[in-house]
Symmetry: C2
Subunit: 161 residues, 2 copies
């Protein structure tokens, strides 16, 4: 267990901040049943110890003109250490790539790409993805309809133990 350091209050704080990172400390304190001072201390500790990695504003993709989300399966020529590393760096450097992972299964890499429209995706795919060295095949899965986005991480598993 990487985390016997989280008691019930910590979990409530994490859950609350996942829902609304802009909760004022007093509101957060009240919500978890604590006075502001110790509550703030806990939040700082959770930040310092890395449980909380960051706070971010979640934007409406459509409203900011990013109407198209594509999940991209990337197969590469057989991995070699340095090739894989450079490949990863290039994926990382593309701003349209919102997340990327090395995965098991059909594909080798997997990226979530966000673009304004099909035209922009075509440009990205043909000019910047397919031209990556060692890319053997790319399969694009277009999001037709979002069902659930940015769900909070479940934390129940920490309490039932």
């Amino acid at each position: 267990m990487p985390n016997m350091n989280l008691d019930a209050l910590d979990r409530k704080i994490l859950a609350a901040l996942q829902q609304d990172a802009r909760l004022s400390n007093v509101d957060l304190a009240e919500k978890v049943g604590l006075s502001p001072s110790p509550c703030l201390r806990r939040v700082k500790r959770l930040e310092d110890e890395g449980y909380i990695r960051s706070y971010r504003a979640v934007l409406d993709r459509r409203k900011v003109g990013l109407g198209l989300t594509v999940y991209v399966d990337i197969k590469v020529e057989k991995h070699s250490a340095e090739n894989a590393a450079s490949h990863q760096r290039m994926l990382e450097a593309l701003p349209e790539v919102v997340s990327a992972h090395m995965v098991s299964g059909e594909a080798d890499f997997f990226a979530e790409v966000v673009v304004p429209d099909l035209a922009a995706y075509e440009e990205l795919l043909t000019q910047r993805l397919l031209s990556l060295p060692m890319v053997k095949d790319i399969r694009s899965n277009f999001v037709i309809r979002p069902i659930k986005t940015d769900g909070a991480l479940p934390l129940d598993h920490l309490s039932e133990g």
Copy 2:
């Protein structure tokens, strides 16, 4: 264009809040080159008009005991309106499902699942995913190594127009 309402200052604000949603308004104002009052007004407007959907704390999955992320392709028997709807609701209700979409391509649905370990994934897969009505096939893609997570949405496309 759904957004000729965003000028350079708005974009700077959105970019800054994507990076750090907990920036105090005074710091944010300084960063974008504005005094606090109009800066706050703009933030409120961006919230009210839905450009900013929410603010969330990003947790370290490993540290909170969620060491395994799986991208799941789900194929279903031929869609029918009401069946699809109930299927979506069930996906939505699973806390381990952090995001889910209807997609084009090989699969019909696509879900990002977060669990403590393989054992937990097995339970989820066999007890709660495969048992969903109409599920024809499920393919699991395990994340071996994250390359980039929670990347900020690119906003450059709004300025170059």
